[in-house]
């Protein structure tokens, strides 16, 4: 489907262009954010990426087989260029050093993604109560979007155990978030 969309996009079809945009936007954002840990920067880079694609469509390869990885690669280059530009600036400004090249952990990403300090604190505290194993399985389920079966195979567990672990983790998270909310209100 997307291969056809890609081809008609290079031939100038705006509908196909938009279909590609909408199909991959969320996935690109997720990927971009885990590289940059910056919501607005990621959005801007994706926007620029698609404008560049649209403007250069006649010269693009018409037979892109894997549109997803094509877009991901393009976005990665864009973001790392942007980050090194910012890093250079911050050297001149003597601001805090850029944690460039170091991958943020899953928890760090989730906390950084929250927009209010309150929410950040709430999530930080709730996540800190989970065990390493719980966090790892939650990441596989919701971040990597694997099935219970796939996680079970990878971790040599039964799907039932994986399911129960996640269910229990969600229950704990909800519980500690509720408690924290009460605490904040008092």
């Amino acid at each position: 489907m997307t291969v056809n969309n890609w081809r008609s996009m290079t031939e100038g079809d705006k509908g196909s262009f938009l279909a590609i945009y909408q199909t991959y936007y969320q996935a690109l954002f997720c990927y971009g954010f885990s590289l940059s840990v910056d919501r607005e920067l990621t959005k801007d880079c994706i926007q620029e990426l698609f404008v560049e694609i649209w403007n250069s469509r006649p010269s693009l390869n018409k037979e892109v087989k894997n549109v997803r990885s094509y877009l991901f690669t393009w976005l990665r280059r864009k973001i790392s260029r942007e980050l090194s530009r910012l890093a250079k600036e911050s050297v001149f400004n003597e601001t805090t050093e850029q944690s460039d090249g170091i991958q943020a952990s899953y928890e760090e990403l989730l906390i950084a993604f929250q927009q209010s300090d309150e929410k950040k604190e709430q999530l930080r505290s709730a996540l800190s109560k989970l065990t390493k194993k719980q966090l790892e399985i939650i990441k596989l389920k919701f971040f990597e979007n694997l099935s219970y079966q796939a996680i079970a195979t990878q971790k040599s567990l039964t799907p039932r155990t994986v399911y129960n672990t996640i269910y229990e983790s969600i229950r704990q998270l909800r519980e500690s978030m509720k408690l924290l909310l009460l605490h904040l209100m008092i």
């Binding site: 994706i46 926007q47 989730l110 979007n145 099935s147 219970y148």
Partner: protein, 346 residues
């Protein structure tokens, strides 16, 4: 779907969060789960709070932007490339969703078994094509337009699915719809183009028409814009129960509950105006007035009063359908009542 063996009516927030079908719905990963949960939520508004909490939890554990943020970004890119919606799909007529949830899944089975029977009976000599079927799901918020192998143009409404073989067989061109779409069919008399939607088949020979059948709704509409179109409803064994031929600006309304199929006129050009500059009646009886109001405003007028023998003359400026009926009722000493886009005279 759930490993706990619970039905959604017994769900807590944790159950939603851990249900793979619900996760698919949240991430818009496949059409069937999206339709299922949308229908289920409509039927179970009491669960809105838990479902919202479940969505919040899923959002906290992923880097998922809100729909609003994504729409804002989409609007920006649309401006950047100067994009206008390709074809304004008409707003759905007011349709009451009254089927119990689970309907979406049942209907999939109906379509499937129907296909199998066609194959077994060889009734339509359905040609098995080696090509893998394509499933196109519009998970965006705008209609999408694409072409089929035979040159037919399809405009697929949001949250609708079309299934078809990548190349068509020797005989019919079969496509399977779940939702709403408009087809501009390339002419090929030897290869009738057939749209299947549950127990309805629309067969065409070079025409533009649209099919609207949100799954879970009890009414479906097939509207013809140009060309000629045959609409049939079949029972589960593929036997044709009813068949209606449409001319341009006619449409078929099918009631899934009582399997009734009927034909009516409609206006393909635009949405009906709420108000018109000028309209004139000269000694018209009820049927003539109702016909004119239907054609001009798209509003159906039903006469349930015993008083039938009247003629009405009048000229209106900047009037709505209601203004006209109100006026007539005053003159003829009748009462009227508005329900949706129809007016009943008592």
């Amino acid at each position: 779907m759930a490993r706990t063996g619970k039905s959604p009516e017994q769900y807590q927030v944790e159950d939603f969060v851990t249900d793979e079908s619900f996760i698919n719905y949240f991430f818009h990963l496949n059409a069937e789960d999206t339709r299922f949960w949308e229908t289920w939520l409509l039927a179970n508004p009491d669960f809105n709070k838990s479902v919202d909490a479940a969505k919040d939890m899923l959002r906290s554990l992923t880097l998922t932007l809100t729909d609003r943020e994504i729409n804002d970004e989409t609007a920006k890119i649309k401006t950047a490339i100067g994009y206008d919606a390709p074809f304004p799909l008409r707003k759905r007529p007011a349709i009451v969703r009254l089927l119990p949830f689970g309907k979406a899944k049942r209907r999939q089975k109906v379509i499937l078994s129907f296909l199998l029977i066609l194959l077994a009976g060889g009734y339509f000599l359905y040609h098995i094509h080696p090509d893998r079927p394509i499933e196109k799901f519009n998970n965006s918020s705008d209609p999408i337009v694409f072409s089929l192998a035979d040159g037919t143009t399809v405009t697929l409404a949001p949250q609708s699915v079309l299934r078809y073989a990548s190349g068509f067989g020797d005989k019919e061109r079969n496509v399977f719809l779940n939702g709403e779409a408009q087809f501009d069919v390339s002419r090929a008399t030897d290869h009738p183009f057939m749209v299947h939607d549950g127990d309805i088949i629309a067969t065409v020979l070079g025409t533009t028409f649209s099919v609207k059948a949100p799954s879970g709704d009890s009414v479906m509409v097939v509207e013809l814009i140009k060309g000629k179109l045959k609409v049939e409803n079949v029972n589960s064994t593929g036997v044709v129960l009813n068949s209606i031929v449409l001319n341009p600006d006619e449409r078929v309304v099918y009631n899934r509950n009582n399997h009734r199929l009927f034909k009516e006129r409609w206006q393909s050009q635009t949405e009906f105006p709420a108000q018109v500059d000028h309209i004139l009646f000269q000694r018209n009886n009820f049927d003539e007035i109702a016909g004119k109001i239907k054609a001009v405003f798209g509003v159906t007028v039903v006469n349930k009063s015993k008083k039938m023998n009247w003629m009405f003359s009048g000229e209106f400026e900047n009037a709505t359908a209601q203004d006209i009926i109100k006026n007539i009722c005053v003159v003829e000493r009748l009462n009227y009542q508005i329900t949706g886009d129809s007016i009943t005279i008592n």
